[in-house]
């Protein structure tokens, strides 16, 4: 069984050396879909130890390439060792990807941890309980919650892939811009899950708030 011996991070993720960050993310997702332990393709091919090592390498490759600074340092090593000619890369790298999408994906592991610890802070806990105890939850309340958790819109976007404009519409109660209920409910659920609060409470509260606003 061949492993990733002798392959550089670009080869491991099977992307060209001038890949943009969204391509790196996509390649990472594709790699996970193949090597994850519930993947029907590989679950029987590798031992747990082999799989762990492979996943560890893939993650390392991703975390290096997705971080601009680490990637630059890594590229330098590759170029110096003569493995690849990155002279073209540096030029193309100047073409920056859309800023929102880069998000803070590198901190994704810490992110969940960070959010989980938040309600331990007195003020955050108070705000959370206040909001959830209310019958209707406004977009403004959502925004305040999010800010109390110190989460950026771009982070919610990066994790849930809800577009920034929709998140803003939700938070600003712009009912006319909101997606149909079916989608809205799912978006609210993802939003709530990102902040690790009860999705059902948020969905019910928010929809209630909309129907109240529409009656007026």
């Amino acid at each position: 069984m061949k492993k990733f011996d002798g392959l550089n991070y670009y080869e491991i993720l099977k992307i060209p050396t001038n890949s943009l960050s969204f391509e790196i993310k996509r390649a990472y997702r594709d790699a996970l879909s193949i090597y994850d332990d519930d993947s029907p393709v590989t679950y029987s091919l590798f031992s747990n130890e082999e799989r762990d090592n492979i996943l560890k390498t893939i993650k390392e490759a991703f975390l290096t390439l997705i971080d601009e600074h680490k990637r630059a340092a890594y590229d330098t090593i590759l170029t110096d060792s003569g493995q690849v000619d990155l002279s073209i890369t540096s030029m193309i790298n100047q073409k920056k990807p859309v800023p929102f999408y880069t998000g803070n994906m590198t901190n994704i592991d810490n992110f969940a941890e960070r959010v989980r610890k938040k309600p331990r802070e007195k003020e955050v806990e108070k705000l959370l309980n206040e909001t959830l105890s209310k019958d209707s939850i406004s977009g403004d309340a959502l925004r305040k919650l999010r800010e109390a958790f110190e989460v950026e819109i771009s982070e919610i976007n990066a994790i849930t892939r809800i577009s920034v404009s929709v998140i803003k519409s939700m938070e600003e109660n712009r009912i006319e811009n909101l997606p149909p209920d079916l989608y809205l409910k799912n978006f609210l659920k993802l939003y709530a899950e990102t902040l690790q609060i009860d999705p059902q409470r948020i969905i019910d509260g928010y929809l209630k708030n909309i129907s109240l606003a529409q009656k007026e």
């Binding site: 061949k2 029987s44 091919l45």
Partner: protein
Amino acid sequence: MSQIYPIGGGKGGVGKSFITASLGALLAKWGKKVVLIDLDLGGSNLHTLLGINDQQGGINRFLDKTVNNLENTAVSTNIQNLFFISSSLCSMEVANLTHAHKLKIINAIRKLSFDYILLDLGTGTNFNTLDFFLTSKQGIFICTPEPTAIENSFRFIKVVYLRKLKQIVKQHSFISAVKKATVSPNNIAIKSPDIIEIVLKYDPDSESFLRNRLSEFKFKFILNQFRKNLDATIGYKIEDLCNRHFYSNFQFLGNVGYDVRIHDSVLSKKIFVHRYPYTPPAIDMEKIAEKIINNRPSVSLSGEIS
């Protein structure tokens, strides 16, 4: 020169015989002279799929020397250009073929003169099946997109590898430590297919030789009984994965759709692609046949025999 395509794959019921019959019929339709050989010894039923009531036998007459040339045991089918060698009348104990008989069959197959020779192999990973599969460097695995079948296919690939590696190690000069590690049955190496690593460790000079030998293999595979709601790229994922983690070349030939009418055609003992030529599975297989015809094998088949 004849092109030999052994058709195998670890799991039973995935459609090896069905695909063999269908591909054979399609290749014959393209004007190629094709012979199908039922090498599922002790479990033959390719003749039934072809609608042949086998009364005279095939391989049995070759083994008991009633017929000297295997080619003379080939019978014509109701499809032009398509011939068939049966094993349904072999002895009840033929599944446990002797080594000499096995070599006799393999050598005779290599001498047959047809455009395409398709070998329908049995389930499992016994030595006979593996050696028949290694008759050529372009074996085809049949698999279904289910974890059980994929698991068995991987096992089959690994065991084929191990068998081949043992042959290579036996026949060429490797340092004795390698021979011991690969050939002795009580070694852990038998469980792990990773003999390249062992060779690397004990005999680094032979590594590139071994790699070259293994890279001569151009395995192919087909995903059969493919249902619509599945990820259609799964075959390419497996291809990619095998090319990355094994030392040979793997080619995904395509998915063959699931169709209830396949069952009907088996019941009526008619070849599916003839009875239902415009159904999705028939069209899928037509594409596969086309790929096989367009494959230009660069490897010579006159390799060593176990």
